[in-house]
Symmetry: C2
Subunit: 372 residues, 2 copies
C-alpha cells in the first residue's frame, strides 16, 4: 500500500487511513538527524510568532526515574482520552467503568499503607474518614481535607480515595475525603458547595491552624477555589495547602496545553474528554470565573502552598503559572517538578519511589507549616 506508506502531508491532516504513517518516518531516538534537518526547522521558524515542530519521537527517560515510573511513562494513551459521551447515560457509563478500576485497587492500597476508611456524613455531605493505623504524636491534633481529582466527572464514592490513602499512609495524617456531587447530575456550583460545607464542619472538628487542604488536578483547582471562597466568606483558612498539578485554568489557556499535547500520556489533550468535562461542569458559566479557573483569583493572603508537576504534564503551565502568581502575591510557595512524568503520575503507582517521595514531601511541608 504505497499510498499509505508515503502519504502527502495534506492527506495526513485531512483523510483517515493515514494512521501512524508519519510515525514510521519519525527518526528513531538517538539516530542522527537527516541532512538539512536543522535548516528545515530554522526555515519553518524563520518569522516571529508561533513555534513549529516536526514529527518527533521521545524515548522513555531513565535517569532520576525509577523502573516503576518508567513503566507508567511508557504507556500508550488511555482508551477514553477522546471520549465524547452524548448524554448523561453515556457519561455515567464511562464514569462507572473507570470507578470500578479505581475501587478494585483499594484493598491492596489500604493494606500496604496501613490505613482504615470509614464512610461518614460531614456538614450534610458524603465523605470518608481515612485514618492511619498509627498516627505520630505530632499529628494527633491535625486534620487534612482532601478533594479528589477527575475532571469534575470521575472519582465518585470510594473511587475518590487513592490520593487520600497515599497522604494518610505516607504522611501519618488523618484525612477527610469529600465525595462531592458531580456532573452530569450536578454541575457547578454543587461540587464547591459540598467541599465548602465539609470544610466549614471540619473546622469545628479541629483547629484550622492545624489543618490543610489538598488534592490533585481538579482537586488542586478546588483546593485553590476553596481558599478563595473561604477568604470571600470570611471563613477560617487552612494553615497550608497542596494543590497538585492544579487545573487552575479550565479554559485551555497556558503554554503546556500546546507544548505537552500528545506528549502527556494521561490527559493527552484538552480537546478530548477533558474539555468536554470542563464545559459540562461550567454549564454555561464563564470559564474564567475564579471559582472555575482559580488562576484568575486574588492569591494575596493565601497560606503556604506546595505544588507538584512533571516535565511532560499537560498541566505544567497550570502549575507554574499558579506558582508564579502565588509568589508574586507574596505567598510561600514550593514547587516540585518530576522528570518525564505526565499528569499526576506521581500518585499513580503506590510502589513507585516517586510516589512515596512526592507525598512525603507534601507531608513534611505540612509539618513545617501546621500547628499542633
Amino acid at each position: 500500500m504505497p499510498s499509505l506508506r508515503f502519504p502527502s502531508l495534506a492527506l495526513i491532516f485531512s483523510i483517515s487511513g493515514s494512521i501512524a504513517a508519519w510515525a514510521q518516518a519519525v527518526p528513531a531516538p538517538q539516530a542522527a538527524p537527516p541532512a538539512n534537518f536543522a535548516a528545515e526547522q530554522a526555515a519553518a521558524n524563520a518569522a516571529d510568532g508561533p513555534r513549529r515542530t516536526p514529527p518527533r519521537s521521545f524515548a522513555v527517560p531513565t535517569d532520576e526515574v525509577s523502573p516503576e515510573m518508567r513503566k507508567l511513562i511508557a504507556l500508550p494513551f488511555p482508551p477514553h482520552m477522546d471520549a465524547a459521551p452524548k448524554n448523561a447515560a453515556e457519561w455515567k457509563e464511562l464514569v462507572d467503568r473507570r470507578a470500578k478500576l479505581a475501587i478494585a485497587a483499594l484493598p491492596a492500597l489500604k493494606e500496604k499503607l496501613k490505613v482504615d476508611v470509614q464512610p461518614a456524613v460531614i456538614g450534610g455531605v458524603k465523605a470518608f474518614i481515612v485514618t492511619p493505623r498509627t498516627i505520630p504524636r505530632a499529628n494527633r491534633d491535625r486534620l487534612l481535607v482532601h478533594v479528589h481529582g477527575g475532571g469534575y466527572v470521575f472519582g465518585p464514592g470510594e473511587a475518590a480515595l487513592p490520593e487520600a490513602i497515599l497522604l494518610a499512609g505516607f504522611g501519618g495524617y488523618k484525612v477527610i475525603s469529600v465525595d462531592y456531587r458531580m456532573p452530569p447530575d450536578a454541575p457547578y456550583p454543587a461540587a464547591m458547595d459540598d467541599a465548602m460545607a465539609v470544610w466549614k464542619a471540619a473546622t469545628k472538628m479541629a483547629n484550622p491552624r492545624n489543618m490543610a487542604i489538598f488534592g490533585t488536578s481538579t482537586g488542586g483547582a478546588m483546593t485553590l477555589a476553596m481558599v478563595l471562597r473561604a477568604k470571600a466568606e470570611k471563613l477560617p483558612l487552612p494553615a497550608a495547602i497542596a494543590p497538585g498539578t492544579p487545573w487552575s485554568d479550565i479554559a485551555k489557556i497556558g503554554d503546556s496545553y500546546a507544548t505537552n499535547e500528545w506528549v502527556d500520556n494521561v490527559l493527552v489533550t484538552w480537546d478530548g474528554w477533558l474539555g468536554r468535562a470542563a464545559l459540562l461542569y461550567a454549564n454555561g458559566r464563564d470559564l474564567k470565573d475564579p471559582q472555575l479557573s482559580p488562576i484568575y483569583g486574588d492569591f494575596h493572603g493565601f497560606p503556604p502552598t506546595i505544588l507538584t508537576s512533571g516535565t511532560r504534564d499537560l498541566f505544567l503551565s497550570n502549575t507554574v503559572r499558579t506558582h508564579r502568581k502565588l509568589r508574586r502575591a507574596g505567598v510561600i510557595a514550593d514547587l516540585n517538578v518530576y522528570e518525564g512524568q505526565s499528569h499526576a503520575q506521581y500518585g499513580a503507582d503506590m510502589n513507585a519511589p516517586e510516589t512515596k517521595e512526592a507525598f512525603t514531601d507534601i507531608a513534611k511541608f505540612f509539618d513545617r507549616h501546621l500547628g499542633r
Copy 2:
C-alpha cells in the same frame, strides 16, 4: 512547485528543498483538529515505549508572560544554532562575533542598574569586580562569585558580564565575575581551575558564610562542580548557590533534550553548536565525569540552592533532575519555572519584569541564607 507543496514524508526527512513544507500543513493554533486526528495519534502511540508526536504549532503564550518576554518567546531560532566550526580559527570568529553583541549592550545595562565594573586579577585569574553604586547595609560584608554561561566557549572578557550586572543591580550585591579560560585554546580543566583559584582567593576577601556562587547554564554547571570540588578539596563552601538552568548533564541525557528540542528557541537542540562545544570542552574526557556533568556528583552537604528554568527550556530536565537529586540528598532546594520561557530567557532582557523577578528572587534567597 507542487512537489514542494506536497512532498512525501520520505522527502522531508531525506532531501533538501522541502524546507518548511510541513509547516504550511500544520493547523493554525486554536483551529479545530482534523477528523480522526486523535485516533491517528493514539494509533501512533499504541505500544509501550517512545512517545510520538505529529507536526505541531505552539502560539506565543500570553497569560503570566509580559509583553517584553512574549517578544523573546516569539523570536526565530538564532542563526548560529547549528554552527559547526571546523577549526580553532572558526570557533574564535564565531565567539568574537557573539561577544561583540553582548559587549555593545553593556553601557545601557550598567546605566540602568547603576552598577560599576572594574577589571581585576584575583588568585592569578582575570576577573571583573561588579559593584552597585548603592549597597544595602545588610550586604556590606557579603560577596558573590559569578561564573558566566555560554557552553564553555562563549562569553570571553566583558561578554561575561550581563548576568553579574543583573544580580549586582537588582540584588544590591558586590560580585566577582570570573573571566575563565575556554576552548578552543583551553579545554577542561582550565575553566574549573580558574574558577576555583578565584573562589579560593575570594574566601580571603570575605567570610565564606557571607558568600554565594551563581551562574546560568554552563555557569550553573560550574557552580555545582565548584561545590563538588570545594568539598573534595576541603575548601570552604559558599552559604548558598544559584545555578540557573544548569548544564548538569552535558551528555544529552534528560527528557527535555528531546521534548523541548525545536521548541526552545535559544539552544534549540543539543545536536548543533551546543553538543560540539561539549565535546570540544571535554577534550576526550568521559562526559559523565561529575566535573563535566555535576548531576553525577554527590550532593550531600550542599548549601541551600535556588534553581530557575522555563517550561520550554531545553535544560528543564537538567534543572528538575538537579532539584530532585538535591532534595533527595536533604539539601534545601528552591525551584522557579517560568511560563513559556526557553533557555535562560529570564536574563535576556533587562526591561522584562520576569528578569527583575528572577534576580530579585535569587537575591532574596541569598538574603535568607547568607550571614552578614
